[in-house]
């Protein structure tokens, strides 16, 4: 019984392949809809997955016992226009936070973008004003030379540490330690180079930066008397809630906030931020995927269209097959198989096409910071979706074919 149905299966498959082979160009064009659909789904989802992976890596490398203190109330969380427009957070707040028992290290942050010049080369990058404990807070080590220390911070010294990208772009193979680079015409002595951290999907290279003491960034580069945020490393992951509570209590006292009034700062922990970021990439993935799915759907309608034409063209063939003993079921299966084979072949080529374009996106210079990850799930999903489309859109034409009357079909001109 099984052997027989297996034999029938392969036979139906062979008949379908032959029928499709008789009209190669048309079969290819029909499959093209599915190829593009499946390819687009895979490529789009790979962009979303890449972004997600980038965020995960980024957060994983920073460790989980990290807190961020930024000015502004909790209610405006997520509203980016508010960010940086608050001037309530001061360097003294950061120093006070560092004294808290649940806190290990802090690093104030004062960031901006500027041009960095070395001899005849220049490079636009992110100038990150940090504390001396930044490497410990962010779990990010120095590769050559050293990071600046407390005395540099206190003196607002004109020293800096380069990110790997900046080092590469300005110095190439030269040793930068001890050299002088200029930011806004101010000379900075290079103390060291940070370890390379690699790409992070969709967010620019994390190695494209230079670090300077935050005091230097405040006074010499930006001329401000407040800090933008404070990175805080808690003593341990278990003490995170405690650290958060202590910071909130401290800042309310320091900022003289009356009981019941809103905070003028917010403390967020790593996992919260990671969750928000993961949520937004998930939405992006779903969005990209569903837009691409529409093209897959259009491909399916293309299959239905061609199969309907094909049924009309082959009415006589159907009559002949019925005359020699084909049952309704046989005709139904034959046309259904043709539709499924078309969409599966389209699906397979589409997978190749999707993986190819996802690699290409990664390579193209314009998107250099964009990572793409083709996941097995997205490939399987797209493939089964293609097969389902073949069945769904192939069924109606196939049923139409199988319901034909043999005599009328034989007489059809």
């Amino acid at each position: 019984m099984l052997k027989r149905s297996l034999m029938h299966g392969t036979r139906t498959f062979r008949v379908a392949i032959r029928a499709l082979g008789r009209n190669k160009m048309r079969s290819f064009l029909t499959a093209l809809g599915i190829i593009i659909g499946v390819g687009a789904v895979i490529a789009m989802v790979s962009i979303g997955e890449g972004a997600k992976r980038g965020i995960e890596d980024r957060f994983a490398s920073m460790g989980t016992n990290l807190l961020f203190v930024s000015p502004g109330s909790r209610n405006v969380r997520g509203v980016h226009s508010g960010f940086g427009s608050f001037q309530t957070l001061k360097a003294e707040d950061a120093a006070a936070i560092e004294e808290l028992p649940a806190v290990m290290f802090v690093s104030p942050a004062v960031n901006a973008r500027a041009q960095v010049v070395y001899s005849n080369k220049n490079w636009n990058t992110s100038i990150q004003g940090t504390g001396a404990r930044y490497p410990e807070v962010r779990a990010w080590d120095v590769e050559f030379g050293s990071y600046f220390d407390e005395s540099h911070v206190r003196a607002a010294a004109k020293v800096c540490v380069l990110g790997a990208d900046v080092k590469q772009n300005l110095f190439e193979d030269e040793d930068p330690v001890g050299q002088v680079v200029r930011v806004k015409r101010i000379p900075f002595k290079v103390l060291g180079v940070m370890k390379r951290r690699g790409e992070s999907g969709g967010f620019g290279s994390r190695d494209d930066m230079i670090a300077v003491p935050y005091t230097t960034a405040m006074r010499r580069l930006q001329g401000i008397d407040y800090i933008q945020s404070v990175d805080v490393r808690a003593v341990s992951a278990a003490l995170m809630p405690e650290a958060q509570r202590q910071i909130e209590e401290l800042l309310r006292v320091r900022h003289r906030i009356a009981p019941g009034a809103e905070d003028d700062f917010q403390v967020r922990n790593m996992s919260e931020i990671a969750e928000t970021a993961a949520e937004s990439t998930k939405i992006m993935t779903i969005l990209l995927g569903s837009i691409a799915s529409i093209s897959l759907l259009v491909g399916g309608i293309g299959i239905m269209n061609i199969m309907l034409v094909s049924v009309t063209e082959r009415i006589r063939e159907i009559g002949i097959r019925m005359a020699v003993g084909a049952r309704e079921k046989d005709i139904l299966l034959q046309f259904l198989t043709e539709a499924i084979v078309l969409s599966l072949i389209g699906g397979l080529i589409g997978i190749g096409f999707g993986i190819g374009s996802s690699r290409l996106i990664k390579k193209i210079q314009m998107f250099s910071s964009m990572n793409t990850v083709v996941s097995v799930e997205s490939v399987l999903l797209a493939f089964f979706f293609a097969a389902a489309i073949g069945i769904f859109f192939g069924f109606y034409p196939a049923r139409k074919a199988s319901r034909l009357d043999p005599i009328e079909a034989l007489r059809y001109e």
Binding site: R11, R18, R22, I320, A323, V324, G325, A326, E328, L410
Partner: protein
Amino acid sequence: MAQNIIELRDLKKTYCIGETEVNALRGVSYAIEEGDFLAIMGPSGSGKSTLMNILGCLDRPSSGEYILDGEEVSRLDKNRLAGIRNQKIGFVFQSYNLLSRTTALENVELPLLYSSVNGKDMTERALAALASVGLTDRSHHKTNQLSGGEQQRVAIARALLNDPTLILADEPTGNLDSRTSSDIMNIFKTLNEDKKITMVMVTHEPDIAAWARKRIYLLDGLIVREERD
């Protein structure tokens, strides 16, 4: 006495086109013995093709009985009829009805696609059938590259494939010249005499009908005359 392979009892077929009814068959009763060679004649529109379609289980009568090989088939469902066409009946049509752009061999194999014969036997049997109509050297030609007579021989080979008890031919020589026609009739005669296959054929031409051993004449859906050699 030979057994009756076909018994028709008061067979009627009425087509309804809108309000008007066309009585294509108006009560045909007849018996065909196993091994008979029968020609059906009659003017155009007399119901010959209608009768052939019912005999071939492609269509069902409006009323009456059709007993084929001891089984009442006039009320069977479509799937059972398809099975009977596949196992017991071989068709030969005036317009050949072969799949174009397909080789002779694949055309001949067609009935086996719908029966339970495995792939190797399939090709073997198809080649044997092609050999029996003298077309071994044409088996890999596409059917649209063959002459009319050759195409009709391919159709006969296809009809032979499942060792049918009955071959039905509706004007098999209608599109052929007289020499090719007698080639085809020779094949029919051999099949009838050597393999004892019952042959029923429709024709307009008396000299083709002369190859048969019995002839019936239809007029307005009724058998009006029978001739036996």
